[in-house]
Structure formats: C-alpha cells, structure tokens
C-alpha cells in the first residue's frame, strides 16, 4: 500500500505543479496569461547577437534588432521590386555632384575616370527624436545628469533601467557625422573601415589621427572618452542642423546602398560620452548592449540568454505604410494598410530557441507567428508537385497558414583555386577541365536531394532580382546548358567527356603522365550528416572518371588553407551587402584575390580582361551600357569557369492567418514596422489548437496500478498465509 501511496502523491504533485503554472484553457502556453490578447508579435533568435553597436554589427542575427532601432538616412522600399532605395530620415534621395581635380563641377553623364570626387548632400527631417535614454537626462540648468558619474555613484547601478531619469533630444545632422567618424575609432574595429577609407575622403588619415589622440588620452581602468567632435574629418561635414555632406573619392554610386545600412545610422555624442565612463564596461553597460536610436522600436529587455524584447518607441517620428507596390500586391492584400501609421505591433518578443524542432512545434501550436522551414519539417509543411510547383500540405492549409517564397540575393558555389597547377590557370587545358566538371556536377539534382527544391541552379555570379542578371535564353550559361523547349537543360555528360578529352584527360587519365586524374575537395565538417552529400559529389566527378579525394578539416584550418591558397576545390558562399552587381562581380576581381591581396576573391581569379571591364562597370549607374559590360564580364567568367556557379537559395516562409503584410524583402532589415497581427484571432486559434489532453495520463496510472496489483496481492497472501500455516503446523 505504501507503493500506491507514493504513486498517488507523485501524481498529485505533478498536477498541482501543472495547474500552478498554466492558464485556464491552454496549459502549454509559454507566455503570461495576461498577454493573450495583446498586440505582441512573437519570434525567436538562435544565437546571441555579438554586437548591437551599429558601427560594429554586420550579421543578420544582429540586424534583426538594431535595424528596428537605428535609422540610417535611406531604406529599401518594402514592396517594390527590384529593390529600390527611398528616404528614411532623409527628406529626399541624395543626388551626387561630380567634380574634377580642379574642383569644377561636372555633368552627371561624365565618364567615371574624369571624376576626381563626388559630393552627396544629405538633408534630414526636422523633429525626429531619440528614444528615452539616460544619456539625454538633464537637470534644470540643462546639464547632463549622468555624464560625470563617480565610481561610488555607479555602485547602485547594475543595468540601464537603474538610471531613474531619462531624456531625449532632436536628431541632428551632427549625429550622422559623428557616427561616420566612429568608423575610424581605434577601439571599435568597424568591419567596413577598410572599404570606406578607400572612398570617404580623408578617412584613412583620420583613423591615424584618432589612434594617436587616443594614445595620449588619460585613461581610467583602460577606458577613455575620445570626443570625436574635436577632430574634424575632411570627407564628412555638417552643413547645418539638418544637413550634412559626404565627399567620396572618384565616383562611388554604391555609397547610397551603404547609407541604408546601420553603419550610417546616427549616433548622439551624448550616448558615446555616457557609455565611455569608467565603470560602465564592468557592468556590461555599453552601446553593444543598450542601443539608442530614433527608430520605431527600442530594446527594453536585453537578455540574450533568454529573451529580447522590442517595444514601441514613444518618441517615434511617425511613418506611413507604403501606398505603392507591385501589381500583384493589391491582390495579395499587401496594400490594404496603405497610408496607415507605422508601426502596427506594440511589442515584439524574441525568445531564445536554439533548436528547430521545438520552434516548429510551437509555431504549429500558434505560439510563434511566422516560421522558416527546416529540412526536418519540410515534408510536413510543403508538397512538391510533379511539375516542381510547391504548395502547402493539407495540414498547413487547414490551419490557415500561408507560404511565401523568394530567391535570396546570395550565391553558394563550388570554386576552383586558380593558383592551383591542375585546376587553375587560363590555358585551354585547365579551362576545358573546369568546364567539363561544370557540366558533370548536376546542381539541379543537388537542389532536389539536399535542399528539398529550395534553390535555383545559378547561371552566373549575379542572382536573379539584381540588375545585370538576365532571364530566359539570353541568361543561360551556354557552356553548361542548352536552351530546350523554353527551358535551360544541362548538357549531356558526353559533352563533358569530350571537353575532358580535349583537355588531355580522356577517360579521367592524364595523357601526359598516364596517371589517373585525382582532384582534391577541401571541405569542413564531414560528420555523419555530410556523408551523403560528400558521396554525391564524389559520384558527380566519377561520371568523368575523375577521382575526387576529400580533404576534411575544421573550419579554422580550412580558412587558413584558403588564405594560403593550398586548397584545390572548395565550397563558398556570399550574401549580398547591397543589390548591385558590383557586390557579386567583385568576388572575381583580380586585385581582390584572397592569397595575394587578402580579399574576398576566394578562387584567386585574375583575368585582365575581366578586371578591366570591372573597373569600367563598378562605378556606372544602372543603364543599358552597364548591362552590356556586365554581359561581357559574365561571358568571360562563364568561359573561364573559375566557379561551378552553384545555386541561389530560395527562402520559404510560413505565416499564420493572423499575420499580415508578409512579403519577403531580403535587403530591408527594418521590415518589422510593416507587420500587423490580429491578436484576437490568434488567441481563439491557440485555444482551439491547444486544449489539454489528460486521459492518457490516467490511462498510464491505471496501467501501472494494474501491473503492480497482482504482485501486491501475491505479497499480501504470502505475508498473511505464512503465520496462518505456521499456526496450523504448531
């Protein structure tokens, strides 16, 4: 009976605990009961953001947060395609003014080589205010309350909310200038300082000036405040309270794309001063942890071990939902909110979810509003028709879930090291070998097997949706594909074998040495999950009787091999910084080679003709002339085949019926403000989908009791019969 008592008390305990933490109708709701009908969007993050300081931040996981907080002067139009820049805090799009060496203005159609420098004047809107922040708090005399804190005053401070007073002020052009100066700050290590110092006039020298100045500063606990306002920068100047000027060397139209990134968001000098005080860093109170911006949201909870929360910025200057879009945006309801004030959602809760399976289960229960599709859940969510068309499964349709797809502005390719004596070089032998392999490695099959159809085989370095990418017959890589029945069709393997023979490797044997051709594929990982993939690659090369040897290393060693140029064949990828063909074609530009110049050209491709065309094309505005040059460049690299062009991934996103204005925009990172939800419908669905099912628990308890019962009865009999028998024997 003691055993039964144990089990009963355990069961009671479990139920008491269950009821204590759960709401009345849904026990599995991970959120507070009071939030059920609130205008809160739920999302997740899988890795803690390393930096929230916009001068350092450069990854998607960080932009998820800071792009909603900081406002650069420009942004991407949410609905228009191709991706189009529009003003954000700027009053209008900045127009370039070109000058020659003597300082004379030039006309807009002047060739780029005649332009000595370009000036962009940027005018920002008046009346834009920062979020409430203690850095702006002042006393009656207008003196800042928290800019001269002693260590004893800081003793009571542990988090930013411990500062009682907050304040705000109007955004000015000086804040933008201050942020651009921060690119050169010796302690901040901005990742784009190198690139920008090539363009912004005087930025490189400015970095040296700041480094010297910083060295001479008196430091407390290795902390010092370097007041950048005291150090002028030639290339960036304040014109008036609402206008500033950027001067760049030569012609650099891509600057406008950079002006839509958080690197160029405003930074109030007060915030820098506030966070630079001694004792702040020890308390983890820094710009990397507590952003201060003018955007629609502000970060109110920053606990990257658990939860990040964005809440509506009470000082937000206001913005309206776009009134224009693409023709089908009206049909899909994307213009129903046209002209309405942004943002729609009051609060966004990002929970830490490291694994995809729990995230997916919670999405299906309605506890997340949107979801991507991982390989684990692909078959449950998506069905692919015979013609390759994708649609949702019945289960998803019944739940009212919607699907949106978009081809990413990214490339995942297989590269040849052009410095390698076998696969590299520009003679016919090496070129034909690479072309043969390009035909043999069937990326359509790869996409089908390993990516569930989520991608399109690339025809060249420029992804679809970007200027320079051609569609249709003119867009195919004629070295690998034929145009058959209105579709690109991979050339037969015999064509590849013929090329291989012409290269001097007939039947996979080197005609010069008589030895089998063995190539080396440098990979990382190589765990059980990758086994099938690597075996697939081996089979692709086997079609040409080429032996593919896998050289597996950890990622660090792999990167080292790439830097030294000792890899032969490798896989690499690139996500666009901005939607311009220059941002992909520069990956093949000779002076950007990884081995010789430590650049991003991982294949170390260096074709003088391509380099010449690149220099000509890179600073041109999008025009038919630019398209012609791009076509020539693409033709050159298709012929040289330094990459197997690989694939452009296709992103699949699911969203519930209560989630509106979902349109994939792979360039705009600040799209949270456009999203709208219906929390009443969400709550109804959650209750409908998550009613607790209790009967199996009772079934298990009864089953356990039934299993024990015969043994208990046997014991009881034994215990009671033994004395009885003993008595009879006596």
């Amino acid at each position: 009976m003691t055993v039964i008592k144990h089990i009963s008390s355990w069961t009671c305990l479990v139920f008491v605990l269950l009821l204590a933490g759960c709401d009345e109708k849904t026990w599995n709701n991970p959120y507070p009961r009071d939030d059920a009908n609130k205008n809160i969007l739920y999302s997740s993050f899988s890795e803690r953001p390393k930096h929230l300081d916009p001068i350092k931040s450069y990854s998607a996981s960080e932009y998820t947060f800071i792009a909603q907080i900081y406002e650069p002067p420009l942004q991407y139009h949410y609905l228009k395609r191709p991706y189009t820049l529009v003003p954000l805090t700027a009053t209008e799009m900045p127009k370039p003014v070109y000058f020659d060496k003597a300082g004379n203005p030039l006309s807009l159609d002047i060739p780029a080589e005649q332009i000595a420098y370009t000036i962009y004047d940027i005018h920002i809107q008046p009346g834009v205010k920062y979020q409430p922040h203690p850095a702006f708090a002042t006393n009656e005399k207008g003196e800042h309350l928290y800019h001269e804190l002693s260590l004893s005053e800081l003793e009571k401070i542990h988090i930013l909310d411990d500062f009682v007073q907050t304040g705000t002020r109007e955004l000015t052009a000086a804040d933008y200038v201050y942020q651009i100066k921060r690119l050169a700050h010796p302690k901040l290590h901005s990742p784009i300082f190198g690139i920008m110092s090539d363009y912004i006039v005087g930025l490189k020298e400015y970095g040296q000036t700041l480094a010297k100045a910083y060295e001479t500063l008196p430091k407390q606990q290795d902390v010092a405040y370097l007041d950048l306002q005291q150090y002028p920068l030639e290339g960036v100047q304040v014109i008036d309270r609402y206008s500033y000027r950027i001067k760049v060397n030569g012609k650099y139209p891509q600057l406008l794309y950079w002006l839509a990134m958080p690197f160029f968001a405003p930074m109030p000098a007060e915030a820098d001063r506030f966070y630079s005080q001694s004792g702040m860093a020890e308390r983890n109170i820094s710009l990397d942890w507590y952003p201060v911006g003018t955007g629609p949201y502000m970060l109110t909870v920053n606990n990257p071990n658990l939860r990040m929360v964005l809440e509506r910025n009470p000082n937000f200057h206001g913005e309206a939902y776009p009134t224009e879009g693409m023709p089908d945006d009206i049909e899909t309801g994307l213009l129903e909110d046209a002209g309405k004030p942004l943002p729609f959602v009051d609060k966004v809760v990002y929970n830490l979810e490291k694994e995809t399976i729990p995230y997916w289960n919670k999405f299906l229960q309605g506890y997340y509003d949107t979801s991507g599709i991982s390989s684990d859940s692909f078959d449950q969510a998506v069905k692919v028709g015979e013609a390759g068309e994708v649609g949702l499964t019945e289960e998803m349709i019944e739940k009212g879930i919607g699907l949106s797809t978009a081809v990413a502005t990214s490339s995942f390719y297989m590269g040849f090291n052009m410095l390698d004596p076998v696969t590299g070089g520009y003679d016919d032998r090496a070129r034909k070998l690479r072309q043969a392999i390009s035909i043999a490695v069937d990326y359509e099959e790869y996409i089908s097997i390993f990516r569930n159809g989520r991608g399109i085989a690339a025809q060249g370095p420029i992804p679809p949706g970007l200027f320079g990418n051609r569609q249709g017959e003119r867009g195919i890589n004629s070295y690998v594909y034929d145009w058959v029945n209105g579709m690109p069709q991979r050339k037969p393997i015999d064509a590849a074998k013929k090329l291989l023979q012409e290269a001097g490797y007939a039947g996979g044997v080197d005609a010069e040495t008589g030895k089998p051709l063995v190539l080396h594929f440098d990979v990382t990982g190589g765990g059980p999950d990758d086994k099938a993939l690597l075996e697939w690659f081996r089979k692709q090369f086997k079609k040409l009787d080429i032996q593919l040897m896998l050289r597996n290393t950890d990622y660090n060693r792999f990167r080292e091999k790439m830097r030294k140029g000792s890899a032969q064949i490798f896989m690499w990828g690139w996500n666009a910084d901005y939607p311009d063909p220059e941002n992909f074609l520069f990956l093949l530009h000779g002076p950007n080679g990884k081995v010789k110049h430590h650049g991003e050209n991982a294949a170390n491709y260096d074709n003088p003709e391509f380099n010449r065309l690149f220099e000509q094309m890179k600073n041109m505005d999008n025009s038919p002339e630019r398209q012609i040059i791009i076509d020539q460049m693409v033709e050159v690299v298709r012929s040289d085949a330094p990459w197997l062009w690989g694939l452009h991934p296709k992103q699949f996103a699911l969203s519930h019926a209560w989630y509106f204005n979902s349109k994939p925009n792979l360039m705009a990172k600040n799209s949270l403000k456009y999203k709208r939800i219906d929390p009443i419908l969400r709550d109804e669905k959650r209750k409908q989908w998550n009613a607790p099912v209790v009967w199996p628990i009772w079934l298990i308890i009864i089953g356990l009791l039934l299993a024990i019962l015969p043994a208990v009865v046997t014991y009881w009999r034994k215990e009671h019969q033994l004395p009885h028998r003993q008595a009879r024997l006596d």
Partner: protein, 325 residues
C-alpha cells in the same frame, strides 16, 4: 579531518594547473589567436590590421607558453598562458571576447541550470530508489523480470530521443506543458516540468539497475536473514535495514555530482531553450571564446574536486567506522 581537507585542497592545485595546461593546449591546437580574431570580427571585409589590433588589445599577440624574446621569469610570465590562467586561481574569470564579464554571466546562468538539475536529482533519487526497492522486493517474480527488461530497454534509448519524444508527446500532442522555454520565478514551473520529467525517466533504466544491485547485495547479508528469522515483515526489512545500509554507495554517487549540478546539461538546455551554464559552454566553444571555455573547464574541475572531498566527508557522517586521517 581538517588536516585531511587541507591536504586534499593542496593536492588539487597541481591538478588544476594540469587541467588548465591541457585545456590551453587543446584549445590552441584547434584555434589560433588569429582564428579567434576572425571569428569575433566577422566573416566579411576583415583586414590583417584589424586582426592584429584585436589580438594586441586582448593580449593574444604574445607567445603561447614560452616567450623567447623575454628573459628571466618573464620567459614564462609574459605569455598568453600565464596571463589567462593564473588569475583563475583567484576566481577572476575576466572578460569574454565580446567584453562581457564572465563572472557575472556565470552567476546569472547557474540558477537556471540548478533549477533543472536539483529537482531532477531529488525526484530522480526518489523514483529510482522506490523503483529499485520495488523490483528488489518482488525479486524472482514477473515484476522483477519485467522491471529488469524495462530498465534495459530504457537504458538502450538515446537521451536525445527522450527529449524530442517527450516534447512531441507531452508538449505537442497532449498540450500539457510548453514545448520549450524558460522564465523566472513561479512562471518557471511550467517550463521545468517537462525537462525534469524527461531527465527522471531517462535515468530510470541505468539508475534502477544500479540501485537494485546495491539492494540485492544488502539483502543477501546475514543481518537481513536474522531480521527475517525474527519474523520482521519484508517491507520493514527493506525500508528499516536494507535501505539504511545501502546509503553508503548511494551517497558516494550522489555527493560527488552535487557540485556539478551547477554546470548544467548541454543537450537539455539547448533543446528547451534554458539559459544555463551548459548552453553557455557550448556557445563559447562554437564561437571560439577561449576566455569562457577556460573559465568553465576550470570551474568544472574545481567543483569535481570539491565533490570528491565532500564524498569523503560524507562517508564519515553515514558510517562512524570510517575516519579521515
């Protein structure tokens, strides 16, 4: 006993130094300071100059173990190993590569780990001992055979399966608790039920088998035979005598892991989104943050040694015949 404890603490110092050295060597065999810099500075547009600056600011521009440029004692002290390891003995963990204070993060993250590990240990012990006693009590019957088979089956299942299966069954199908997540205060209870339940169930197989063996060994001893001969009921024999005498090996197993409860569970924390020290360590390894890795390995070693000392002390408490000298 005091002399014994002091001696054990002194023995621990060279062990900790050795652990530090091994951790240091293993870490830097796989990751160079340059790799660490590249990981922190990002994948795009990183210049050699920026890497050099990053290393210099964090002291990673020095030689690893021996500085041939220096003379005298500085040959060993002006190195990365000395800079990064010696302060650990004063429990100064320093800053992570992203500048955050490691000591503060550990103090914040040990509580979620403990929130799972402690109930897991207590409820697990209750369940395993009860189940093991039950099986031992019904030894030789279908309950015993069935129990052993069940234990072997449970032992054969992967821990990951319990987690995914548990989340699917209890969280997704039955809707009884949240699939994953964590919160503070009373709100945390609903998040802890499932990981604790899964932890207990996943341990039933091996622990019950272990405790059953202990109990059966005790049951075979003379004092049990004497108790039975005196007519004592079987339940009383088990709970009053067998359980009490079986406490020494049980304590051995439990006390040694007590300090390690702070360190958290790597897989459980990852799947349930629990911000404990287990996931902290995994994240640090992924991001090549040597400062956190060395702090966590050092802390783990200290706690393990502490566990061993506590075990020795606990022997003297449960068995008066044992004396530490």
């Amino acid at each position: 006993m005091l002399a014994y404890i002091i001696r054990r603490v002194l023995y621990a110092l060279p062990i900790l130094m050795g652990v530090n050295l091994i951790t240091f060597t293993l870490f830097f065999v796989v990751n160079s300071p340059e790799d660490m810099a590249r990981m922190q500075l990002g994948a795009k547009h990183v210049t050699e100059e920026a890497i050099d600056k990053w290393k210099a600011e964090r002291g990673y521009d020095k030689p690893l173990l021996i500085n041939n440029q220096a003379s005298g004692i500085a040959t060993f002290t002006d190195t990365i190993f000395y800079d990064k390891s010696v302060k650990l003995f004063a429990f100064e963990f320093g800053s992570a590569d992203d500048g955050r204070d490691i000591g503060y993060d550990i103090s914040q993250r040990m509580w979620p780990s403990l929130a799972i590990a402690l109930p897991n240990l207590i409820l697990g012990l209750l369940a395993y001992i009860t189940f093991a006693l039950l099986v031992a009590f019904f030894r030789g019957t279908y309950m015993d055979v069935g129990g052993v088979i069940l234990c072997v089956v449970l032992m054969s299942v992967s821990g990951l399966f319990y987690i995914i299966g548990g989340q699917y069954l209890v969280g997704k199908l039955l809707h009884l608790v949240p699939v994953s997540g964590y919160d503070v205060g009373l709100e945390s209870i609903k998040f802890l039920i499932l990981p604790v339940l899964i932890g207990v169930v996943a341990g039933i197989g091996s622990s019950t088998r272990w405790y059953r063996t202990i109990f059966l060994e005790e049951i075979g001893k003379d004092y049990v035979r004497t108790a039975r001969a005196k007519g004592m009921p079987e339940l009383a024999v088990l709970f009053k005598h067998v359980l009490k005498n079986a406490m020494i090996p049980i304590l051995t197993g439990v006390v040694v892991i007590l300090p390690l409860l702070f360190m958290g569970s790597l897989i459980t924390e990852s799947f349930f989104g629990i911000p404990g020290l287990g996931s902290y360590t995994i994240d640090a390894i992924s991001s090549q943050d040597f400062a956190i890795v060395r702090a966590m390995v050092f802390l783990g070693s200290v706690l393990y040694i502490l566990g061993l000392i506590l075990t020795d002390i606990s022997y003297t408490l449960v068995d008066p015949r044992i004396k530490l000298s």
